[in-house]
Symmetry: C2
Subunit: 402 residues, 2 copies
């Protein structure tokens, strides 16, 4: 890329920074954008019309806030096939939920199995737990990001308490066989935590059928809610510790954190507008049909990959079969730094993507891109074929200019 283009880019960013930005947004794996209008409306309705504290005061506005939260629990319970909505717990984000799940389960001397395709939201808590004597085995995946079930089985020890994996890689989109992993966990009396950050809202997840003990989801990705809300579903009867104590609006006379769900894990004022927005997001998915959204995203992913394959200089990572692939496509152009490509896509072509390591360092070691990173394009429910065509065109022009 010439210096001229970089300067052009800088000029462009200055000229447009505070304006009403219209871009081709292909960063849905970070946060889906835009949201359905109903989501904006639900957040606003919550703030304007019942902006009180749920589960505390008992007056009409507080009850109404409590009601939308309960209704959202019900919707999520149905969505993931959970009997009791009280086993749905809301948190700040998926990272908060993963910390609760992982630290709530593991004790000194326990062994945990995870994979080399995980996000730092799993790897960093496990690293921190090393200090209290938790042992971790990281199962190496192949260069497309696939995990081998036998490698998991071989890693099991007498003190293995937990298996924790993603449902799909945030780098390559590679989908893990979570039902089979759940089966292995169940047969060996091991707890299984699934990080559904890249799949909840697009792929069918049935926690019972898949033997998932704890399912973690972000609100702001494919469930189409706003940022600031995430959560987890905890299997009935599974005992985990709280990691955040405080006021719950229940058993207020006691200094001891209540043991009942969801209160045990929901201290302090919850994000009611965020939960109301999440409700609207999930309703949108149900109305449009999760299968229709999945087909839409898979179709565009397939088309994008097929067009990318025609460009010789482009290297595509991960399994190129959309059946094994969440709508996340990581590429590189020759040996170019991924950040530079992303910079040009943004500033010259108004295409928003994410470059670099994507908070998943071992995944990049696994696929061989630890130094270069990758340029990640992630497709959402509002991405269009025109967006993909323009993106392909931009990539071709960049390839020509290098």
């Amino acid at each position: 890329m010439s210096d001229q283009n970089l300067s052009l880019g800088l000029y462009y960013i200055k000229a447009n920074f505070r304006g009403d930005i219209k871009m081709i947004y292909l960063d849905n794996a970070a946060t889906t954008y835009p949201k359905p209008d109903e989501v904006y409306e639900a957040v606003m309705d919550s703030m304007k019309h019942y902006g009180a504290n749920p589960g505390r005061s008992g007056h009409k506005l507080a009850l109404q806030a409590g009601r939308i939260i309960y209704e959202t629990r019900e919707l999520i319970a149905k969505f993931f096939n959970i009997d009791d909505p009280m086993n749905v717990v809301f948190t700040y984000n998926a990272t908060d939920a993963l910390n609760l799940a992982i630290k709530g389960v593991l004790n000194s001397g326990d062994h945990v199995i995870t994979s080399s395709m995980e996000h730092n939201s799993i790897l960093r808590p496990l690293k921190a737990l090393e200090k209290i004597g938790v042992e971790t085995t990281i199962v190496e995946c192949d260069e497309d990001g696939n995990i081998n079930l036998e490698d998991i089985e071989k890693s099991i020890r007498p003190n293995t308490k937990l298996i924790v994996t993603t449902h799909a890689s945030n780098v390559t989109g590679t989908i893990f066989p979570i039902k089979h992993i759940g089966q292995i966990a169940k047969e060996n009396d091991i707890i299984y935590i699934v990080d559904a950050a890249q799949t909840a809202g697009v792929y069918d997840i049935d926690v019972k059928d898949m033997n998932i003990d704890i399912l973690v989801f972000p609100g702001h990705k494919s469930l189409l809610g706003p940022q600031g809300i995430g959560g987890l579903c905890i299997r009935e009867g599974l005992e985990i510790r709280s990691i955040r104590e405080g006021g719950t609006g229940s058993s207020s006379e006691s200094l001891i954190q209540p043991d009942m769900l969801p209160d045990k894990f929901e201290s302090g004022t919850p994000n009611t507008p965020g939960i109301a927005g999440l409700y609207a997001g999930i309703k949108y998915i149900l109305d449009r049909g999760i299968e229709n959204i999945r087909k839409h995203e898979q179709h565009l992913t397939e088309y994008f990959i097929s067009e990318l394959k025609k460009i010789e200089e482009v290297k595509i990572y991960g399994p190129c079969d959309v059946k094994k692939h969440a709508p996340v496509v990581s590429i590189n152009i020759g040996e170019e730094d991924s950040s530079e490509i992303a910079y040009v896509l943004d500033n010259v072509y108004d295409i928003g993507v994410r470059p670099g390591i994507h908070c998943a360092p071992l995944a990049h070691k696994t696929i061989g891109t630890f130094e270069q990173g990758t340029v990640r394009f992630s497709i959402g429910p509002f991405t269009t074929k025109e967006d993909i065509d323009k993106t392909i065109e931009a990539i071709k022009q960049i390839v020509d200019e290098i």
Copy 2:
């Protein structure tokens, strides 16, 4: 109260539950409501126009999200007199921030001093820490909720690592002499954490002048932001542990949580719309003038207390001097259960208050209301004299009917 009124109340709640509710809202100590219009607009603007992930991808929308977050840090740093905005950390809510502060500081064998007026957001984490060998001294306050500085000094032991207190009680409004407590902490080389849940946004807080090591604030109370955001300000150089690790968008190549602030304590996607709303809330406070808001709330509190004093059957708790009193007024009517009074206020008079223990059990033991609870009226920046007059009238009618 007659059964007839209770039935009337139930009928009323059914008839109005989903309607456009207009009530006299006196539950601002739980969540301020309504918010300034600018807050609603800022949340919507964030979601609609730059709903991307801050600090990650680097494209225009992500940069804009990152910018509003940084600007909010700057505003908060200025508001509480902190030099470096990077020492302002965002969390889910104040409870999340208190857990981080308390657990980030204390180790097995440490001693901590707190008061009997604290919220469960302090008492329950301390109770949980007993299990790892943290010792707690709870300083008893007088029946108005005042703390005696000498009692704090007398409680100091060689292993006292921390003093943690509220700035003002959420039950009686009693204001603590935090500057003096900070002085004691400093002289004895003890860390001081202040829970400003009831004061941030109404009372001047200068962390340097007051010797506060960690200041915890909720976003959704007097700072006028939405629910789902809180935070803490950490004194430069103070080392505390992370309690939530994960992706930070920084040092992504490393499995170890980065040590720099604020990233060390901000794993996962933040609540950008919530932070944008908080920015607008603080801007509103600065524009209207924190002193003007305080005078408004103090004036109404003073008026409310003076009118309450004329009703013989009403018992008012806490110091009735508004100079020693956040705009929170707890009362009881004779021996009536606080929940019943609140129920009638809501359902017959459309006045929203909070009854019960308010997640502060020891405060109620201190003021002698552990069984009865109190009816808490909390005034906000949009409360009017007319609201107070109607509330006084309602209380008089209830007193007459009992």
